[in-house]
């Protein structure tokens, strides 16, 4: 790796990112601002979406759960990619920190997937008359939840952190093969669910008055995700680096030499 850092100064940030201490200190400075931003976006989006956005012509007020359901589903999927990429970075560059990020991303993603499934079920009752339908997208989300649970279970099955890290990183990478199938399944087995309403390639088919608060909520969820990921990773750093001097100094409050 030496030639890499000599080769170009622009790689320095990458190596610095590999230091848990640097990450801990930097995120400590960012966290208050990020949390404020997440709170502001989520608060605005919720009040706007639940209170001021127009009613849906067919579904009435029950459609408003979309403001939780869609952002949670977005982050559930994106979170799997973040976890898998962090795992891949760990495998390739043997970076401790990225394994910690991977381990922290798994429970957050699992909870978001569960939230997406739960809000979907609650939404399904007034809309379709049933809590659960074996529809393509619901089933894919359920499989995604199983994938998350597998990564979590594997991580904790190993006694040594290192073996658990590598094993769950490989599993996360293998699981990413399933993610394109999740997207494709919308086309394959489309039955009861609505077609994907937000596409990046075309204009949204939702009315702008409904769409704008949704966009705010999605941004808010992204910020919230980053805050949660930082907090989990910081806790993991303290746990794994508890024998280093800088953590001891941080906890005991002694001045740094």
């Amino acid at each position: 790796m030496n030639w890499l850092s000599n080769w170009s100064p622009s790689w320095q940030w990458f190596h610095r990112l590999g230091s848990p201490r640097w990450f801990y200190q930097t995120t400590g400075r960012w966290l208050p601002w990020l949390s404020l931003l997440a709170l502001a976006l989520l608060g605005t989006g919720l009040v706007w979406g639940l209170g001021f956005a127009p009613q849906d012509a067919k579904q009435g007020n029950s459609f408003r759960i979309i403001y939780l359901h869609v952002p949670a589903s977005f982050l559930a999927l994106a979170g799997y990619y973040i976890m898998a990429i962090a795992g891949a970075v760990g495998l390739i560059w043997k970076m401790k920190l990225s394994y910690m990020v991977m381990k922290s991303a798994a429970p957050i993603g699992a909870v978001l997937t569960f939230l997406a499934l739960f809000t979907g079920a609650v939404w399904g009752k007034p809309t379709w008359g049933t809590y659960w339908v074996w529809d393509a997208r619901i089933t894919s989300m359920l499989i995604l939840l199983f994938l998350y649970l597998g990564v979590l279970a594997l991580q904790y099955a190993f006694h040594s952190n290192e073996a658990g890290n590598k094993a769950s990183a490989i599993l996360a990478l293998v699981g990413t093969v399933n993610i394109p199938i999740i997207y494709k399944s919308v086309d394959w087995w489309y039955t009861l669910h609505q077609p994907a309403t937000i596409k990046l390639t075309s204009a949204p088919s939702m009315h702008p008055d409904m769409f704008q608060p949704l966009l705010v909520m999605i941004l808010g969820f992204y910020c919230f995700y980053v805050v949660a990921l930082f907090l989990f990773t910081r806790a993991e750093i303290l746990r794994r680096e508890r024998k280093t001097t800088w953590v001891k100094e941080l906890v005991l409050g002694e001045p740094q030499s």
């Binding site: 495998l91 499989i143 199983f146 994938l147 649970l149 597998g150 279970a153 594997l154 099955a157 190993f158 040594s160 290192e162 073996a163 590598k166 094993a167 490989i170 599993l171 990478l173 293998v174 699981g175 093969v177 399933n178 199938i181």
Partner: protein
């Protein structure tokens, strides 16, 4: 490279032949569970015929899953896996050889025995050939995907249940297209479409799974 494949194929087949009782268990499981279906659901042949394609596929999946655990376990215990890991050749080829042997002693017998189960579960006549074709291809996919899970959990003492948790979500596309092949044949549609997708999955699995399993063996079994 090819010698690693054929050497391990021959070795594992010979080992399976010497432990015939162990190798027969998935097959016996497959046949035995089929008795539970009429007892638990209904003995009426009209209703059995309706669910037969899916049930046969689910049982084949479970039978394969039960046997996947042992893919690397005995090699890990007697130390021959370590010898394989330090040998200078590409690890994926011996792994592919082992997986092929595993398929020949589990998936292939299941495929050959499946007409018997079709008979017991009143599978309509149009379903037999598609069932055998889809089982032959599909169980090979299952063995390949299962090898990654088996490699990840080989160093764990109680890896069996964990292994099923890990690979079951990855099995789901296979069972969707496997039972779709049989079902569309019974309904009188062309069944080559889902079978072709199963074939594509097998091609992708042959290319990727031995590499992933080899990587997993290297990273997790030596500590």
């Amino acid at each position: 490279m090819a010698s690693g494949f054929s050497a391990y194929l021959r070795r594992d087949l010979l080992l399976a032949y010497r432990r015939r009782g162990e190798a027969a268990s998935p097959l016996i499981f497959f046949v035995m569970v089929s008795t539970l279906i009429p007892l638990g659901i209904t003995p009426e042949s009209a209703r059995l015929a309706e669910i037969a394609p899916g049930i046969i596929w689910v049982m084949a999946l479970l039978a394969t899953l039960l046997s996947t655990d042992s893919l690397f376990a005995s090699d890990y215990q007697d130390g021959s896996l370590e010898q394989l890991l330090i040998s200078p050749q590409l690890l994926a080829m011996p792994v592919l050889g082992k997986v092929t042997a595993h398929w020949m002693v589990t998936g292939l017998p299941l495929t050959l025995a499946s007409p018997l189960l079709g008979l017991m579960l009143a599978l309509p006549a149009a379903g037999y050939v598609p069932m055998m074709a889809s089982l032959a291809i599909g169980t090979a996919c299952l063995s390949l995907v299962g090898s990654v899970g088996a490699a990840l959990t080989v160093s764990l003492r109680k890896g069996g249940l964990l292994l099923s948790l890990l690979v079951m979500p990855l099995y789901m596309p296979v069972i969707i297209f496997g039972s779709a092949t049989v079902q569309s044949a019974i309904d009188g549609f062309a069944w080559s479409g889902p079978l072709a997708i199963l074939g594509a999955m097998l091609a992708a699995a042959i290319a990727l799974c031995p590499l992933a399993a080899a990587g997993a063996l290297r990273l997790t079994s030596i500590n």
